[in-house]
C-alpha cells in the first residue's frame, strides 16, 4: 500500500515539489505500476549474476592526457557555454550572489 506520505518522501528524495493533487494521482499510479512489476518475484534467480550494464562488456579506459585537437575546440566552447547561459559577462557566467551582507 502506497500512501501520500510515501510519495512525499520519494518526491523529497528527488527534490521535486508536488501539489496535493499530484500526490494523490502519483500514489494511485505507483500502486498500479508496483502491482505490475511484482510479477518479477515469480522468477527464480538463485545463482544468477546480475547484469548491470548494456551488455557484458568490460569498461574501457583512456589515458588522462590533454587532447590538443579537442583543446582548440575549447576556445569556441567557452563562448558557447556562456552564450547558452541565461546571463554572462566578460566570458564569465553571471549568477545571483552566494554571500550577501
Amino acid at each position: 500500500m502506497i500512501t501520500g506520505k510515501d510519495v512525499e518522501h520519494y518526491a523529497e528524495l528527488g527534490r521535486i515539489a508536488i501539489t496535493a493533487i499530484e500526490k494523490k494521482a502519483l500514489a494511485k499510479d505507483f500502486e498500479k505500476i508496483l502491482e505490475y512489476v511484482k510479477k518479477l518475484n515469480e522468477v527464480d534467480t538463485t545463482n544468477v549474476i546480475p547484469m548491470n550494464g548494456g551488455v557484458f562488456f568490460y569498461n574501457r579506459l583512456r589515458s588522462d592526457a590533454v587532447d590538443l585537437e579537442r583543446r582548440s575546440d575549447k576556445v569556441n566552447e567557452t563562448a558557447r557555454v556562456t552564450h547558452s547561459f541565461p546571463k554572462s559577462k566578460d566570458g564569465y557566467l553571471e549568477v545571483p550572489p552566494v554571500f550577501t551582507e
Binding site: 518526491a11 528527488g14 508536488i18 518479477l40 547558452s84
Partner: protein, 487 residues
C-alpha cells in the same frame, strides 16, 4: 519533386546530374515545413539559416566538381535530445526550454562531416519518456496516416518528419522501443543499433544502460547509409565498442544465397492474444512473403519474455532518477525566483518536469531505496541477465528472430493517457531487445502505396550483437519482393 518519395541515392544522382541543387532541395523542404508542419507538429525548432548554409557548401563542392559524399546535401532531422551546437535542445521538456547546446553530439558531428544538412530538431515525449508523443511539454505530433492518431513515441517528430517528406532521414533515440514503435506506426524503417555501436556522447541521457541513437528512413538502404554514418567507436563514450565498423555495402551485397542460408525464429511468447487481428494478418503476410524467398523458419522459445516489461520498469526509472538529477535549474534548466537553496531545487524541478518524468524519478527513488533495493532493483538486474541468456540460447538455433513490432497499429490520442501501465504495454515487444543490448529493426509489412487507407504495421527483426547487416539484408530483400509484386 515529390518530397516523400526521395531517397538518398536518388537525391545524390540528381545532384550529380544537376537536376536540382542542394539549396533548391533544402529550400523546398524548409518551405514545406513552414506551410505544413503546424498541422503535424513534427518540429520543435527549424534551423533555416544553418541548413541553407550547409546546402550552399554542397553546391560549391558540386560547382568545383569535388567528389560529393553520398550524404552530401541530404536533409536530416534530429530528435531534440541530440545536441547541435548553438541550437536549442529541450528534450521536449519545459525545464530545458531555454537550453542551447554548446557542443555537437558525436552523431551530429559525424553527420555534418558526411555533408548532411540538418534541417531541425524534432518533437518528442518529454525526456524520451512515452510511447505516443503525448508527453511532449509543447504539443503532440500527429500521425501522417490519420491525424486523430498518435505517431508513436518517444521519437515522434522524427518519424513524422520522415514519413511526410519534411526530412529524408532522421535520428531518434531508443531506450525501450522509441524508434521502432513510431517507425511501425508511421510506415518507416527504424533501426535500433546494438548497444555500443553508436556513440551516446551528446545524447541527453535517459537510462544509460539502455539508450542508443537510432535512425529512421523510408527504405532499408537509407537506414543503412545513415547507420554507416553515425556508427563506430568514440573515445568520448566509454561504452562504445572498439573495432566496430559497419558498411552499407554489406547490405547492398547481401545475396539471395546468404538470405536462403538463414533460419528465422518465431518466438512463441510473442504471438499472444493481445495482438490485433489486423496486425496478425500483416505479420502472417510478411512470414509468407519471406517463406516464398525460401528462408527457413523455426518456432523458438524465449521463456522470460513476460518478465521483460516489469524488469524494464524497474531498471529504467532507477537510471532515470539518477540521470535527471542534473536538471535542477542551476546546472541545467530554468531557474525560478526562489532564493533559499533547498526550496529552489524543489520548485525548479517541480515546475519544470511534466507528469511522466516525475512519476519515473519517484519510482526510481523507490526501487533504489534501502529495503527495496534487493527486492526490486537487484532482482530486475538478475532477470535482465536471464532475458539476455534466453536470446543467446535462441541465437544458437536461429540467425534472426521475427516478431510484430507492436501489438496494435497507431492508437487514438487520449486512448492510453489515463492508465500509465496500458501505455507501457505498447512497448512489450520492443523492450526485451534494449535489455539484452541487441540490434533490431522494424520494417513496414507493405509499401506505403499499397496501404489503401489502412494504417501501417511494423515487422520486427532481432539479430545477434553487432549483426545489423543481416537484419538490413533481410529487410532489403523483403522490400524488393514486396515492391515487385505490388504488395
Amino acid at each position: 519533386m515529390q518530397l516523400s518519395n526521395l531517397t538518398i541515392s536518388s537525391i545524390h544522382n540528381s545532384f550529380l546530374k544537376k537536376e536540382y541543387s542542394a539549396v533548391e532541395l533544402t529550400t523546398q523542404i524548409l518551405n514545406y515545413i513552414k506551410e505544413e508542419d503546424s498541422e503535424y507538429g513534427a518540429y520543435l525548432h527549424v534551423m533555416n539559416e544553418d541548413a541553407l548554409k550547409g546546402a550552399q557548401e554542397i553546391d560549391l563542392m558540386l560547382a568545383r566538381n569535388d567528389d560529393l559524399p553520398l550524404l552530401g546535401g541530404i536533409p536530416f532531422a534530429l530528435k531534440d535530445n541530440i545536441l547541435v551546437a548553438d541550437h536549442p535542445s529541450t528534450a521536449g521538456s519545459k525545464i530545458l526550454k531555454e537550453h542551447g547546446a554548446s557542443y555537437d553530439a558525436t552523431v551530429t558531428k559525424k553527420l555534418k562531416l558526411a555533408g548532411a544538412v540538418i534541417v531541425g530538431k524534432t518533437n518528442m515525449d518529454e525526456f524520451a519518456m512515452g510511447s505516443s508523443g503525448e508527453n511532449s511539454a509543447f504539443f503532440p505530433a500527429k500521425n501522417p496516416y490519420d491525424t486523430s492518431r498518435v505517431p508513436g513515441g518517444s521519437s515522434s517528430g522524427s518519424a513524422v518528419a520522415v514519413a511526410l517528406g519534411e526530412a529524408v532521414c532522421a535520428l531518434g533515440s531508443e531506450t525501450g522501443g522509441s524508434v521502432r514503435q513510431p517507425a511501425s506506426f508511421c510506415g518507416l524503417v527504424g533501426l535500433k543499433p546494438t548497444y555500443g555501436a553508436v556513440s551516446r556522447y551528446g545524447l541527453i541521457a535517459m537510462a544509460s544502460s539502455l539508450d542508443q541513437v537510432a535512425p529512421f528512413a523510408r527504405n532499408t538502404m537509407d537506414a543503412a547509409f545513415a547507420f554507416e554514418a553515425i556508427s563506430g567507436c568514440d573515445p568520448l563514450d566509454a561504452t562504445s565498442k572498439k573495432d566496430f565498423s559497419f558498411h552499407a555495402k554489406q547490405v547492398k551485397d547481401f545475396s539471395l544465397e546468404s538470405l536462403r542460408g538463414l533460419t528465422i525464429g518465431l518466438p512463441k511468447e510473442y504471438f499472444i492474444p493481445g495482438i490485433t487481428k489486423e496486425t496478425q494478418k500483416e505479420i502472417d503476410h510478411a512470414i509468407t512473403t519471406l517463406k516464398s524467398l525460401k528462408i527457413k523458419f523455426k518456432e523458438i522459445s524465449l521463456p522470460h519474455t513476460e518478465y521483460a516489461l516489469p524488469c524494464y520498469y524497474i531498471i529504467m526509472p532507477a537510471e532515470v532518477s539518477s540521470n535527471l538529477s542534473r536538471f535542477d535549474g542551476i546546472r541545467y534548466g530554468t531557474r525560478g525566483e526562489q532564493t533559499a537553496l533547498r526550496g529552489m531545487y524543489d520548485r525548479n524541478r517541480g515546475d519544470g518536469f511534466g507528469k511522466e518524468p516525475k512519476r519515473r524519478i519517484l519510482l526510481g527513488n523507490y526501487v533504489l531505496s534501502a529495503g527495496y533495493y534487493d527486492a526490486y532493483y537487484l532482482q530486475a538486474q538478475k532477470v535482465r541477465s536471464l532475458i539476455t541468456t534466453d536470446f543467446r540460447n535462441a541465437f544458437r538455433e536461429v540467425d534472426v528472430i521475427l516478431t510484430p513490432t507492436t501489438p496494435t497499429q497507431a492508437f487514438k490520442f487520449g486512448e492510453k493517457t489515463k492508465d500509465p501501465v496500458s501505455m507501457y504495454l505498447s512497448d512489450i515487444f520492443t523492450v526485451p531487445v534494449n535489455l539484452a543490448g541487441l540490434p533490431a529493426l522494424s520494417f513496414p509489412s507493405r509499401s506505403s502505396e499499397s496501404l489503401a487507407g489502412e494504417l501501417p504495421v511494423g515487422v520486427q527483426l532481432i539479430g545477434r550483437h553487432f549483426d545489423e547487416a543481416t537484419l538490413l539484408g533481410v529487410s532489403k530483400w523483403y522490400e524488393e519482393t514486396v515492391s515487385e509484386s505490388k504488395m
